[in-house]
């Protein structure tokens, strides 16, 4: 049988959802079942900081049922993720452990950036509709329970992504806490949101014109799909239609809205907050169209799994988005674009030539490239303490698509590139890293350090670098007619750590091309 069945589970702030997918050569990726049960975990976490026992019991009961459904479909694999409600709960680890003990289902916690990245993948899973829309200037507004994420696209490339603590459940908590009357709700949401959105506009949006706004949420996006006939590709509303929809939510009582729009009544207030937020952000950006594809995190999880097991090959290059995101961070902190490109080129060349020795894969190469791009972002704060300041900037800035742990790896590589490598036995060395991560950091730091030495002058002299591994030597040949005395000096200094990590001796050779020789004459 050429099909595979997979279950994607999300323990969200408002509900627990499981989707069963089938991957096959013929159908690619097909959703065959979707079950969800309302459980307002967010109201516990956001209001009291922890998940209570009653809710935990309910999570376990529901997950056990999910397990039964998975079994019925003979699902071969599953991924279960918890989002902000579990992530931000003080008792998160205990909750995860209890769930594993009582249900056998292991919940992994998604960092905000991972979650947004998967959400983003869920939109990309819509294929042609997604490709078409991001050809124009587009923003993705991902509305969650705890926060919202705004990602900006330009010509098929992600240019920025920012997280704002304006999630619908969080806002609803405030509305309840401050006993805001229905007639004043919109004003209240406006005041809360606009304070943050104005800063966002000043810092990130500037004069950028956005034509399309893609909305990912569990409230208005599914509704839009429903209202436009169930085809997510066609769930595009112009501003007028969207305003009409908001107006219905604004004027009718929840019972009427639930009935006329065919949605659960308890979701109506959240849909209203979501719609107001989407409307304000569309206004802020001047977006003329709103596409609400009705996708959920589960779709993104399945998409990622299908890619991983090679049952599905998406056409969008997500790595390009992660790199683009790092480039934009570098730009914001006045990093040198040219230097970053040179460094990225050298590190990639060395990484590829050393594959047999380091045994690292594509993902680790991405960390290395990101570290190369962000290697000097800390200079924005301090020209002296670059390692530490770069580390702090990277750790404080989200890179969509990277987990917290992955971001920490990148930050450490950058940090050790500038300063002394701290060994695991030394105080503050591994900083809670496991052995595998520690070794990856060491290996990638060694490569970055060596590469950094090769462009010490920041004059990009090493454009035509070639690397060949011969027995215990890494032969680096550079095609340049320029004086590389400075680089050679730093290169020698930095080979020591490289040798220590790989037991490979880097050797630098300069090759002068005919043209340059002629010029020199």
């Amino acid at each position: 049988m050429s099909t595979r069945t997979f279950a994607a589970i999300v323990v969200g702030s408002f509900e627990l959802t499981m989707k069963i997918f089938e991957f096959s050569g013929k159908n690619s990726m097909r959703e065959i079942d979707c079950v969800s049960r309302r459980l307002a975990l967010g109201s516990d976490t956001y209001a009291h900081g922890r998940i209570c026992n009653e809710k935990l019991d309910e999570i376990c009961r529901t997950l056990k049922e999910f397990g039964g459904i998975m079994k019925a479909y003979k699902a071969e694999a599953y991924r279960a993720y918890g989002t902000s409600a579990i992530r931000e709960a003080e008792n998160s680890i205990i909750v995860q452990d209890q769930i594993a003990q009582r249900t056998g289902i292991r919940i992994e916690i998604l960092s905000n950036s991972e979650q947004r990245f998967l959400d983003y993948k869920s939109v990309a899973s819509r294929g042609e509709s997604f490709r078409r829309i991001i050809e124009e200037k587009t923003a993705i507004l991902d509305i969650g329970g705890g926060s919202i994420q705004i990602s900006l696209f330009d010509n098929d490339t992600l240019v920025s992504t920012q997280n704002l603590r304006l999630g619908v459940l969080r806002i609803q908590e405030y509305l309840v806490r401050f006993d805001v009357k229905k007639s004043r709700m919109e004003y209240f949401i406006d005041e809360m949101a606009m304070a943050q959105l104005a800063n966002y506009k000043k810092l990130y949006l500037k004069d950028r014109e956005i034509r399309n706004l893609i909305v990912i949420d569990g409230y208005i996006s599914p509704l839009a799909v429903k209202l436009t006939g169930g085809n997510s590709g066609k769930a595009v509303l112009d501003r007028e239609a969207f305003e009409g929809f908001v107006n219905q939510l604004r004027t009718e009582n929840p019972e009427q809205v639930a009935k006329s729009l065919g949605m659960p009544e308890e979701k109506v207030p959240l849909a209203f907050i979501s719609a107001v937020l989407a409307g304000r952000i569309a206004d802020l950006m001047g977006a003329g169209q709103i596409w609400a594809p009705g996708v959920t995190l589960c779709d993104g999880i399945a998409y990622e799994y299908a890619e991983k097991i090679k049952m599905f090959r998406g056409e969008h290059d997500f790595e390009k988005d992660i790199v683009a995101c790092a480039v934009n961070i570098s730009k914001r902190y006045m990093g040198s674009k040219k230097r970053a490109e040179t460094l990225e080129n050298i590190t990639t060349t060395i990484f590829e030539s050393m594959k047999k020795v380091h045994g690292l894969g594509k993902r680790e190469l991405l960390y290395l490239r990101l570290a190369a791009i962000l290697h000097d972002c800390g200079k924005y704060i301090s020209m002296v303490n670059i390692g530490e300041t770069s580390y702090d900037i990277i750790m404080a800035t989200e890179i969509i698509g990277l987990s917290h742990a992955e971001r920490e790896m990148v930050a450490n590589i950058v940090r050790f590139n500038h300063g002394r490598f701290i060994y695991d036995g030394q105080q503050g060395g591994a900083r809670g890293m496991d052995k595998e991560t520690y070794l990856k950091v060491a290996k990638l730091t060694a490569i970055l350090r060596l590469s950094n030495g090769l462009d010490r002058s920041h004059k990009q002299k090493m454009k035509g670098i070639k690397a060949v591994l011969r027995e215990n030597q890494l032969l680096l040949t550079i095609d340049t007619a320029e004086d590389i005395t400075l680089e050679k000096g730093f290169f020698r200094e930095r080979t020591e750590f490289f040798r220590e990590v790989f037991s490979v001796e880097p050797v630098l050779k300069q090759k002068k091309t005919l043209q340059t020789q002629t010029m020199q004459k």
């Binding site: 049988m1 050429s2 099909t3 069945t5 509900e15 089938e22 096959s24 013929k26 159908n27 097909r30 065959i32 079942d33 979707c34 079950v35 969800s36 049960r37 309302r38 049922e65 039964g68 459904i69 079994k71 019925a72 479909y73 003979k74 599914p222 799909v225 429903k226 006939g229 169930g230 019972e255 009427q256 639930a258 009935k259 006329s260 065919g262 659960p264 009544e265 308890e266 009705g294």
Partner: protein, 733 residues
Amino acid sequence: MKNKFFTRKFVPAAQIRRLRKGMVTDMGEIDFCNPKYYTNRELSWILFDHRVLNEARDKNIPLFERLKFLSITASNLDEFFMIRVASLKDMVNARYEKRDIAGMTPKEQLNALDVAIHNLVDLQYSTWNRSLVPQLEKNGLQIISRHEDLSKEEAVFIDQYFEENVYPVLTPMAVDSSRPFPLVRNKTLNIAALVHKKNSKDEMEFATVQVPSVLDRIVQLPAAGRAKKIILLEEIIERNMHKLFLNYDIVCAHPFRIMRNADLTIEEDEAADLLKEIQKQLKKRQWGEAIRLEVEDGMDKRLLKILKSELHMEQNIYKIAGPLDLTVLMKLYGLEGFEHLKTPKYTPQPVPELPMGCDIFEEIRKGDILLHHPYQTFEPVVNFIRQAAKDPEVLAIKQTLYRVSGNSPIIAALAQAAENGKQVSVLVELKARFDEENNIVWAKMLEKAGCHVIYGLVGLKTHSKITLVVRREDDGIRRYVHLGTGNYNDATAKLYTDIGLLTCAESVGEDATAVFNMLSGYSEPLVWNKLSLAPLWLKDKFLYLIEREKNHALEGRPAGIIAKMNSLCDRDIIAALYAASAAGVRIDLIVRGICCLKAGIPGVSENITVRSIVGNFLEHSRIFYFENDENYEIYCGSADWMPRNLERRVEILFPIDRPELKAELLHILQSHLKDNVKASVLQEDGTYEKVDKRGKSRFQSQEAFCQEAVRKASAAAEEEALVTRTFIPEVHQ
């Protein structure tokens, strides 16, 4: 289980609010909700029972079939008392005075019913005494209605029968200061007597004995020749009463029967365990308030006074001129030797698309299959579950059960499937009226076999008939669905007319999955592809479809509605039909039972016809046709156009998409409209009249469907025989 989605309150859509406001037509502004345009549902039901009674009175029908119809009127009436009259009485006791759809208060309804039911009962017994008993005698079956009429030999036989068979199971009970008035169980037949101690001048005492239900109520007397003679058990007991009260003299003895309020009051919201709560309430059913007292005509006044006083009864006392509880006639129907006085038994025919021994899944993959029961056998539905239970590729079976038969092969197949490791989820509706006890037994049995059993939803009855089989195939998961208008009951499927659909359409499969997810307490899907569900969306769907026809008519496009159902009493739907009729839509309704709509009102319902078909089979299918500007749509479903179906039950409406099947269903509807034998047409004055056959050839729809099913099955069998007999020469190369 509590299901917050299905139990959401029904909110009238804008369309309903508009309808309730009234509409401006050529006739001026008309308020289609005006009570004068509606018939009270209880009185309409009485008219239905009269139509059944008419069958018992129809001399063109074989004599024993007439007995059956009379028996049906009696069991119908019993249920009507236990539920409807009881409910009205509760309302009166609670001083609830809200008027019904026809503007009547509960008290007014009870008064009107009192008159109507007495007339009905009088007609039942005059039919029995004047028509059926003489006819039975003429045909060799004599009924001894009074033990005093027994011959000497017969009396000896009867007395001996009493001593050997009856006496050991009787429990006589006397009432005096130390023994309170006993519990007289609901629907049981009893004999009340006044007794006093022998040779004593003491006051008379009341005594009673229940006619045991474990014994046959019909006792055949030895008779010479082919003629048969029977006597009823209560007469035998009455004759031998003195043997029960040895030291007493029997002053008088008469049979009586009471009906109690059997409408369960289940505190669902408070019930931690629905199953236990229902079991608790079922016990109370025997103790419900007495609603109706039937006594033998001529009962001693003193005896009647005691009964009335002890049972707290003033109204609904029926003095019966004949045997109490005419449901006994169904037993009489079963007497051997009278086959010539019955309609020949019809055997449900095989379904041509599903030849014997076929792989049902393979056949469904070829295209949707329509089943028309009881003309076609119910066996494919049973086989669908049986094959699924055995098929190694089947992953899951999900089904809703409302009423199932005594020894249900479906239950057995589901249990087998669970034992074979399939995931089996069954919603057993514990609140199915009068089937509560059965369903509890089935639910427990299924649970024991390893099925996941849902005991229905709080506040709602799950009346939908749907089965989902999830199967893993080479090209992925495929879902097979059976949707029906009738219960998964192989016994009633031989008597009730119903429609079933077998399909593996992806769109229906997705919806079916969503239905079961919702029934399991999960959220509703993003969008429904094909199915419409009550209580959340179905009423709006019907209103939309009716309004669409109205708009077609107003715009001069072809418009029309043919709808077949069991009952029509939803005010919003009726108002929408009136509005459509006023706009010029031709509406033909085939409503077997209650119909609160009035036909032929100028400017309101002059384009509406209503007919009711009462035949050998119980008309049970719900089929809805909408002309839709010559692009007609046909739907089938489990719901009638009643508030309870549309607002308080889980029901499913499904469209039929395949053109051949749509044509088949339209043919069924048109055949019903053509029926001039079993159809009664609702008149402007609210009465029903049989169709005037003068100058027309006789056409009976049920008979025609039987013939069609036989023809189709024979043609398929012949074709199959031809294929198997065809000689295909082997070619050697």
